[in-house]
Symmetry: none
Subunit: 409 residues, 2 copies
Amino acid sequence: MKSEIITIGDELLIGQIVDTNAAWMARELTQSGFDIAAITSVGDQSDSIVKAIDNAFERAEILLLTGGVGPTNDDITKHTLCQYFHTALEFNDEVLQNIETIFLRRNIPLNHLTRKQAYVPANCTVIQNKLGTAPILWFEKDGKVLISMPGVPFEMENAMCDEIIPRLQERFQITEYLSRSCIVTGISESALATQLAEYELELPKGFSLAYLPSLGYIRLRLSVWGEEHKVELKLQARKLKKLLGLNIVSKGAKMPEEILGGKLRKKNLTLSTAESCTGGFISHKITTVPGSSQYFEGSIISYDSLIKEELLDVDRDLIETYGVVSGEVVEQMARTVAKKLHTDCSIAVSGIMGPDGGTKENPVGTVWIATQYNDKIISNKYNVGRSRRENIERTANTAMLQLLQMLKS
Amino acid sequence: MKSEIITIGDELLIGQIVDTNAAWMARELTQSGFDIAAITSVGDQSDSIVKAIDNAFERAEILLLTGGVGPTNDDITKHTLCQYFHTALEFNDEVLQNIETIFLRRNIPLNHLTRKQAYVPANCTVIQNKLGTAPILWFEKDGKVLISMPGVPFEMENAMCDEIIPRLQERFQITEYLSRSCIVTGISESALATQLAEYELELPKGFSLAYLPSLGYIRLRLSVWGEEHKVELKLQARKLKKLLGLNIVSKGAKMPEEILGGKLRKKNLTLSTAESCTGGFISHKITTVPGSSQYFEGSIISYDSLIKEELLDVDRDLIETYGVVSGEVVEQMARTVAKKLHTDCSIAVSGIMGPDGGTKENPVGTVWIATQYNDKIISNKYNVGRSRRENIERTANTAMLQLLQMLKS
């Protein structure tokens, strides 16, 4: 069932806020069997909103609007919808009751601006917004549906889950969206596409394979619409897994730090990092995962060479012989941090992230990564790119995936 | 000058990624004098892309496209643009050279799929993508412009700043946009707005003051269109600075880590961090700044309590008496890390980032921050919020600004 999302607000068009509402709605709708044809953001101007609705109704049966429904004068979605559906505002007792309950709970006196929220278009179905003062409006026209919701994320999310999606699923009899994702590393996107060219050609009708490249890995997504394809999807996913061989790191749609965290937790292992060029980014990524304190102990960030000697017991001789960006140095860093922080596993990195500091032997982007798991230690050299921020992120992902590959075997 | 943004990719429509590109572009374009009429996201289907372009050209003179330009079969933007502009692909030597350089640097062999990237539409201007293999395509039609860029954020951002915006400003003779920014901390947005209400009312015609709240600080931007307002802008900025008093941390549009880096460099000071709850994020932020190795020595990330005792010399007694989230503990952490890493300044943090781990005395969001500068040490307690990711970022910014305030005096 084709749907479209329209997010309304000047703040979107000047880039003051990122449109997380659209992504949230798109994900929930897709997983509930709705197909999103387009997402449009427009400002708080009546003609822009009308034009966006017209364009969307050309392609879709369901339109979801958020934003522009506050009590102040710059919010004009409700008036625009009255115009669009040739109707007028009328007072709604239930909406006022809902507003009064909310104000009582927050202990704020009601003012005339808020009372205006109880006026709703005459020919729509009103759905109460349990968490806010702007009601949800459901319009029907020529077998199509338009729903206007507030732009406040938790109000919109609550309304979507509790009211909108269940009503839409009942109103339109929905096809299910099935998908399988996995993470692949150690191969370029084009080499991977070449390797999978025949497999893609032979995919049954309706199946599609998407490549989603990230820094240091590629996410593959195999998908199809319709519950009847469940068995075939499983078969195709298995076939894909076989083709990917050792390059496949993990199934599912999770991030490297989540996968690594899950693996460490499952194996009851602990982790520490010794970072030079990534400056704490690996440690940061790992600790974005809630509950990471169960397996992560800490890090020694030795941005300066002297700190490598003093805190990570790297011999000055080693640095002088092999250089600070070398397998020998990162291995020593990995060993020391695991010992000092009493962990089963460790990650150590040293490299040149740029824009300066490159040499002929070690140009910007050169990085050595050591990973340790009990008695085993592996160190590899990579070239991660040229842009500083990208290099740091690619190094972090590559390092976590290198350890994950060790833990897999 | 009316512009529109079209972001292309199935991953946007299934909500797998949040469209941060659109927000980034909208902000940069607005600040460079362009007015965004709408933002549209469509999938990798030719007819959807064409329809979106048609709709956008009805309203705007400038169209910026990102995405759908990878080497794989699911990326069809380039072919769609050939159709749209009635042209065919032709081989471009310079693009191939750029691709070869990139592959050589990454030490990956070139294959036929990547070579395909060197085919570009015949009637467009090709701009080299210095950071990736997909070239930037600039089309002109009836006095309007369409630019197709890769969807990889850092490639797009680099191309926008270095090539696209300067060329657009030249092509469309943009009125100069004048602005002054500053960073304000230690005051809520609504309190700040109340404090500045009169000032805002008295601003001369055409001047506007924007509040851009970030995590841990608010950026204020005073702006006006037209070079003739240069002197008045300077006067108004001075008046604003006086009103803000001690809450103003810094002038300019830089990030806290850049301002702190600049200050340390100017005063010839060095820095280290001892982080618990931020897990290395402060260290990471500081080291995103090129050349930070000149003043940043490193960190000890003690996610576990035992590591605080062993590596940061925090007495067990201190932890048992005051708790691990306390002024006493962070002060000890700050002192030790500065001593062990031989730095003039240090930052130490300990707190509860959530979603679990909160107590009645120390609910989720509680954090203690100590900053040291030579013999002076300050520790403050904050409550940073409720969402883990936000808490980590707000803590990092607050910590850097706390040190900056110390260095100012």
